[in-house]
C-alpha cells in the first residue's frame, strides 16, 4: 500500500504535467466573482407569475375544507389543489407515501404540509391571495418526539411508528454474554439535534409549459430525481418533462429530494396559470418546510478487555424521520453501516430504527446519518482512553482497521485504507509548532479552561451496497465540429467543483488543453442519467466514467487517424476532422462495479461501499468559565482522499465540511415545539461567521483507490463526520463533563456543569 501524502492546507501545489493534482482556476470562478452567474431567481422571465404555498399549520389532523374569501379579487390569481393533479399525487422517491398536496378530506401529517398553491403576477399579490384562502382542519393528537414515537400511543406508520428497521449482526454470539465478560463496558446514550443545511441560496424553481412539455429549471442537485417525480405527478411520458439545473447556490443534501416537491408545485401552477411560474422560497419558509439532518439518539455499549482491545459493541440507533418515509431508510442504512467505526471489533450488533413523527421529514445532509453515529462511537473511544489512562492516538492505532481486516458487515478491506496514514499525518503536524493564535482569541476573558479532543473515522464513498450497479450511471463524451469535446453527465456543480474536476479529468484523458472541454448543461434532454449528485460519488464514480468515456473516444479517434492516414498528435484536430468527414462521434460509458464487490440487502453483509475515506481531526478548545462560550483555538484535519484531482477544491471541501461540523457541535440549533421549527430565520438559526471560524490546518493524505479516477475517492461528506466528536471530547477534557449531546450551546454546558461542577484548579 503506497501512501503519497503531500502538501498542507495552504502551502504546496504539487503539479504534474497532466494538471491532475494541480489547482487551476475553477471554470466557473469568473462568472461567480463578477455576478454574471445566473441562479434560478436571476433568470429572466418577464411573463412569469410568482407562486406561493398554503401550509397546514397543524402537526396532525384532517384537511376538512378550503374556501376562497369572496371579497378578494381572484381575477389575476390561480389556485391549485390536489384535484388539479394529472398524475399520481405523490412526491416519488423510495416509496409513494408523501403527497404533493394534501387533498381535502386527507390527513395532514406535519405543520408545513402543502394544502394549496397560488400564483399571481407579483409576489405581493400571491401572498395576499394566500391570506384570502380559508382552511378548516380537525386536529388529531400529534407525535412530536422520539419518545412519543416509540410509545406509539398515536400510530402514524404501521402499528409501531417504525418507518424502517435495519440490523447488523457481525456474528451469532450472544452479545449480552460477551459484554458481561468484558473487563470494561462503556454504556452511554448520545443525542444530536436537527441541523439546517443553510445553503445561502434558498430553494427555488422556474416552471413553464411549452405545448404538452413541462420544463423546469431549478436550484437542485439531482435533475433525474426531479424528472422521475414530475413524470409521476403530472402523468406525462418521460420525454415531455425536461429538468435543468440552474447554477445552484449550495445544496449539502438539502437540494437532493425537496426540489422534487417544489418543482411539482411550480409545474402545477404554471399549467394552471398558462404561463411560467417562479416559486422561490424565502428564508423563513425554507427553514421551516424543507428537510434537515435527522435528530438522533444512539445508545452505545462498548466492551474492552484489560489491554484496551475492543471486544464488543452493541449499538442502538434511533433517527427521527419525520412525517414520511422519504430518504430515511437510506440515511438509517448509512448511519448503522458507520456505527461501529473504523475499528476491529469481533462482536457487533447494531439495530437501527427510523421513527415517524409529525415533523416535516428529515432528509439528506452531508454525512447522511454517519455524523450521528460517528459522534457516538468516537465519544465512546474518548471515554475509553480516559478510563484506561491510555494515549488517544495509541488506542486508535491499537484497534483501527487495516488492509486485510473486515468491517462489521464482513467487508474485507483490500486497498486504499488510509487509517494509519491519517493518524501519522496528524501526529506529525501536531509535533510541529502551532500557528499563532489570532490576537482576538488572546482577549478571551479569563478564567479560561482548555482542552483537546481527537476523533478518527471513515466514510464509505459512493452508494451503499449494490446501489451503483442498480443505478448503472452513464456518461457520454462527444466530438464537436469546433474540435472541442462535450462531456454529458447529469452530475451537478453545487459548489463542490465538479465542473472543474471533470474538465481536468477529460482534458487529461484526451490530452487536450482544458479550454477544449465543454461541460454540457445538466438538463435531462441533453445528458444521460449519471445518477444523483450525492453520496460522495461524483468525482469517484462519475469522474471515472468521464475518464473511461474519454479514453475510449481517444482510441476511436486514433483508429480513425490510422484508417484515414491522418496525424494523430492532436485529438482536437482529429475530432474536428471526424465531424466534418463522418459526422458526430461520441462514446458512452456505463458504470461497472469492480470485481468482487458483493452485498446482501437481506442479511446486511458484504461490501457496503466500494471503498472508504479515512480521517482524523484534532481540536483544541478554550472555554470561558463565566459565559461558557467556546472558542476553537486549533483544528487539524487529516483526510485520506485517495488522490486530490484539484488540491484547492479538495481543501475547500474539507474546510467547508469541517466548519459545518463545528457549527453543528457548538452553535447550530433547530429547536422544535409541537412539530414546528421555532427559529425559522437566519437571525435565530445561526451558522458560523468568518469570525467564529478557526484557521484550519488541512492535511491531505493520498492513499490511492485503484478504481477511482487517478486514485481519487469520495471527499464531500467525510469532513462532516468527525469534528463534532473532537469538540465534545475537548470539552470533556477541559471541563470534566460528559458532553454527550449536540449542539453544545453555552446553556447546555452550564447545565452539564451544574451536574458536575468544576474543581478548583484548571484541568
Amino acid at each position: 500500500m503506497s501512501s503519497a501524502s503531500t502538501g498542507t492546507g495552504n502551502s504546496s501545489r504539487s503539479s504534474d504535467s497532466t494538471g491532475i493534482g494541480d489547482s487551476p482556476d475553477r471554470v466557473d470562478g469568473v462568472p461567480k466573482v463578477t455576478g454574471a452567474a445566473l441562479y434560478v431567481d436571476d433568470l429572466p422571465a418577464p411573463d412569469a407569475w410568482h407562486g406561493a404555498t398554503l401550509r397546514s399549520e397543524i402537526p396532525h389532523g384532517r384537511f376538512v375544507a378550503l374556501e376562497r374569501d369572496p371579497d378578494f379579487d381572484w381575477s389575476d390569481v390561480v389556485v391549485v389543489t390536489a384535484s388539479d393533479i394529472g398524475g399520481r399525487n405523490t412526491v416519488a422517491l423510495l416509496i409513494e407515501d408523501q403527497p404533493a398536496l394534501v387533498p381535502v378530506g386527507g390527513t395532514i401529517m406535519h405543520r408545513e404540509e402543502a394544502l394549496a398553491l397560488v400564483a399571481a403576477p407579483t409576489r405581493a399579490r400571491a401572498r395576499a391571495a394566500l391570506k384570502a384562502l380559508r382552511v378548516t382542519t380537525e386536529a388529531l393528537p400529534a407525535v412530536t418526539t422520539l419518545d412519543a414515537a416509540f410509545a406509539a400511543d398515536v400510530k402514524l406508520h404501521g402499528s409501531d411508528n417504525v418507518l424502517k428497521q435495519l440490523e447488523i449482526h457481525r456474528d451469532d454470539a450472544d452479545i449480552e454474554a460477551v459484554l458481561a465478560g468484558c473487563a470494561h463496558v462503556i454504556d452511554s446514550t448520545y443525542e444530536t439535534g436537527a441541523q439546517e443545511q443553510m445553503y445561502i441560496e434558498p430553494q427555488g424553481v422556474l416552471a413553464e409549459w411549452r405545448g404538452d412539455t413541462c420544463r423546469v429549471v431549478g436550484s437542485l442537485q439531482c435533475p433525474y430525481y426531479v424528472h422521475k417525480a414530475l413524470v409521476i405527478l403530472l402523468g406525462l411520458p418521460e420525454d415531455q418533462v425536461v429538468v435543468t439545473q440552474a447554477v445552484t447556490g449550495g445544496g449539502f443534501g438539502g437540494k437532493e429530494e425537496y426540489p422534487s416537491m417544489i418543482a411539482g408545485h411550480a409545474a402545477l401552477l404554471a399549467k394552471a396559470a398558462k404561463r411560467p411560474v417562479k416559486l422561490i422560497y424565502d428564508r423563513a419558509e425554507d427553514i421551516a418546510a424543507t428537510t434537515k439532518r435527522h435528530p438522533s439518539r444512539v445508545r452505545h455499549r462498548l466492551g474492552l478487555d484489560t489491554n484496551g482491545q475492543l471486544v464488543a459493541a452493541d449499538i442502538d440507533v434511533a433517527l427521527d424521520g419525520g412525517a414520511y418515509v422519504t430518504l430515511s431508510p437510506v440515511v438509517l442504512s448509512r448511519a448503522i453501516l458507520h456505527a461501529s467505526g473504523p475499528y476491529r471489533i469481533p462482536h457487533v450488533r447494531i439495530v437501527g430504527r427510523a421513527m415517524a413523527t409529525n415533523t416535516p421529514p428529515h432528509g439528506a445532509f452531508r454525512g447522511f446519518g454517519a455524523p450521528q453515529t460517528t459522534f457516538a462511537y468516537e465519544r465512546q473511544m474518548q471515554k475509553a482512553a480516559r478510563l484506561l489512562g491510555v494515549d488517544a492516538f495509541a488506542l486508535r492505532r491499537q484497534n483501527m482497521l487495516r488492509v486485510g481486516d473486515s468491517t462489521a458487515t464482513g467487508q474485507v478491506l483490500s486497498e486504499s485504507v488510509g487509517s494509519q496514514e491519517v493518524l501519522d499525518r496528524l501526529e506529525d503536524a501536531l509535533a510541529q509548532a502551532a500557528p499563532p493564535v489570532p490576537a482576538r482569541l488572546g482577549s478571551l476573558r479569563s478564567p479560561v479552561r482548555r482542552g483537546r479532543g481527537l476523533a478518527f473515522y471513515f466514510h464509505g464513498s459512493g452508494f451503499t451496497g449494490s446501489g451503483e450497479e442498480r443505478l448503472a450511471g452513464r456518461v457520454s463524451v462527444a466530438c464537436l465540429a469546433s474540435g472541442d469535446f462535450e462531456v454529458r453527465s447529469s452530475s451537478t456543480d453545487i459548489g463542490q467543483g465538479m465542473l472543474t474536476i471533470f474538465t481536468q479529468i477529460a482534458a487529461q484523458a484526451l490530452d487536450v488543453p482544458a479550454s477544449r472541454i465543454k461541460l454540457s448543461e445538466p438538463s435531462t434532454e441533453r445528458v444521460p442519467d449519471s445518477g444523483p449528485t450525492v453520496a460522495s460519488r461524483t468525482c469517484m464514480i462519475v469522474g471515472k466514467l468521464v475518464e473511461r468515456a474519454c479514453t475510449a473516444l481517444a482510441q476511436r479517434l486514433r483508429d480513425f487517424a490510422t484508417e484515414s492516414s491522418l496525424d494523430a498528435s492532436d485529438l482536437s484536430v482529429l475530432a474536428a476532422q471526424h465531424v466534418a468527414q463522418r459526422g458526430e462521434l461520441s462514446e458512452t460509458c456505463e458504470h461497472e462495479s469492480p470485481p468482487g464487490v458483493q452485498w446482501s440487502d437481506e442479511t446486511y453483509t458484504g461490501a457496503a461501499y466500494p471503498v472508504f475515506g479515512w480521517a482524523a481531526c484534532l481540536v483544541d478548545v478554550a472555554v470561558d468559565e463565566d459565559t461558557h462560550e467556546v472558542t476553537v483555538e486549533r483544528c487539524l484535519h487529516a483526510v485520506d482522499v485517495g488522490r486530490a484531482i484539484h488540491r484547492r477544491i479538495v481543501e475547500g471541501q474539507i474546510e467547508g465540511g469541517t466548519l459545518q461540523a463545528l457549527g453543528w457541535a457548538l452553535l447550530e440549533s433547530v429547536p422544535y415545539e409541537d412539530g414546528r421549527v421555532l427559529n425559522p430565520s437566519m437571525t435565530d438559526c445561526i451558522i458560523p461567521t468568518s469570525a467564529d471560524a478557526p484557521d484550519m490546518e488541512t492535511l491531505l493524505v493520498e492513499v490511492p483507490y485503484a478504481h477511482g479516477p487517478h486514485g481519487a475517492k469520495g471527499v464531500g461528506e467525510i469532513p462532516m463526520d468527525g469534528p463534532a466528536a473532537a469538540v465534545a471530547g475537548a470539552l470533556e477534557d477541559a471541563l470534566g463533563i460528559a458532553a454527550d449531546e449536540l449542539p453544545l450551546l453555552p446553556e447546555v454546558l452550564e447545565h452539564l456543569l451544574a451536574d458536575a461542577p468544576l474543581d478548583e484548579a484548571p484541568a
Binding site: S23, D42, V247, G250, F252, E651, Q660, T689, S690
Partner: protein, 193 residues
C-alpha cells in the same frame, strides 16, 4: 417617485415606489442580478452593495435612500480594459485563484465587502479580516480560502503601494457592515446591528 444616483459610475434615474427595497429595484428594475437575496433580514450579506464606498445590506435599504449617493454593485467591480476585456478587481482575482468561491452565491457580497474593507484597512491581518467579513455568511468554504485570498490581495495592494500600509485601526470587533465605520451622511440602516 423619481430618484437619481450614481450606479457603477453612471448617472441613473429610476421612477419607483420609494419604499421598495434597494435589492429589488436593483435586481428587478435595473436587472443587476449579481446582488443576491439569502435572507432578506440583514443577516447574510449576499445582497451587499457599496453606498459611497461602504458596504450595506441592500435588502434593508429602502430605495429612496439611494438618492444622490454613489452606489456600486458587483457588476461594477471589474473594470473594462482598453480592448473591452474584463479586468477583475484584485479581490475578485484572488478569490478565483485561491478557491474562495464554491457555489458562488455569497461571492458578490464578499467581493464587494472585502474590496471596501481592504481600502479602509489595508493592513488588516487574518484575524481582523475575519471580523471585517463577519457580516457575509458563506456556507461552502469554511472561510479559510476566502481569508487566504484576501490576505494575498492585501499583500499585493501593499506591495503595489510601495509604502508601509496605513494604520489598521478599528480592531474593535466591528465588521465592515457597521454604522461606526461610515460617513454620517451615508444612508442609514442596511447594517448588521
Amino acid at each position: 417617485m423619481k430618484l437619481r444616483f450614481q450606479l457603477n459610475g453612471a448617472p441613473t434615474e429610476v421612477d419607483v415606489d420609494p419604499m421598495r427595497r434597494s435589492l429589488d429595484v436593483l435586481r428587478e428594475d435595473l436587472t443587476l442580478t449579481g446582488s443576491k437575496e439569502g435572507c432578506g433580514e440583514g443577516e447574510c450579506g449576499a445582497c451587499t452593495v457599496l453606498i459611497d464606498g461602504a458596504p450595506v445590506n441592500s435588502c434593508l435599504v429602502p430605495v429612496a435612500q439611494l438618492g444622490g449617493h454613489d452606489v456600486q454593485t458587483i457588476e461594477g467591480l471589474a473594470q473594462l480594459g482598453p480592448d473591452g476585456e474584463q479586468l477583475l478587481d484584485d479581490v475578485q482575482r484572488a478569490l478565483v485563484t485561491h478557491g474562495g468561491t464554491q457555489c458562488g452565491i455569497c461571492t458578490p457580497g464578499i467581493a464587494l465587502c472585502a474590496s471596501a474593507a481592504l481600502k479602509r484597512e489595508p493592513a488588516a491581518d487574518r484575524g481582523r479580516l475575519r471580523e471585517l467579513l463577519a457580516g457575509n455568511l458563506c456556507r461552502c468554504t469554511g472561510y479559510q480560502l476566502i481569508i487566504d485570498a484576501l490576505v494575498t490581495a492585501a499583500a499585493e495592494r501593499g506591495r503595489a503601494a510601495h509604502e508601509p500600509s496605513a494604520p489598521g485601526g478599528g480592531a474593535d470587533g466591528s465588521s465592515a457592515h457597521d454604522s461606526t465605520v461610515r460617513d454620517p451622511n451615508a444612508p442609514p440602516s442596511g447594517d448588521r446591528a
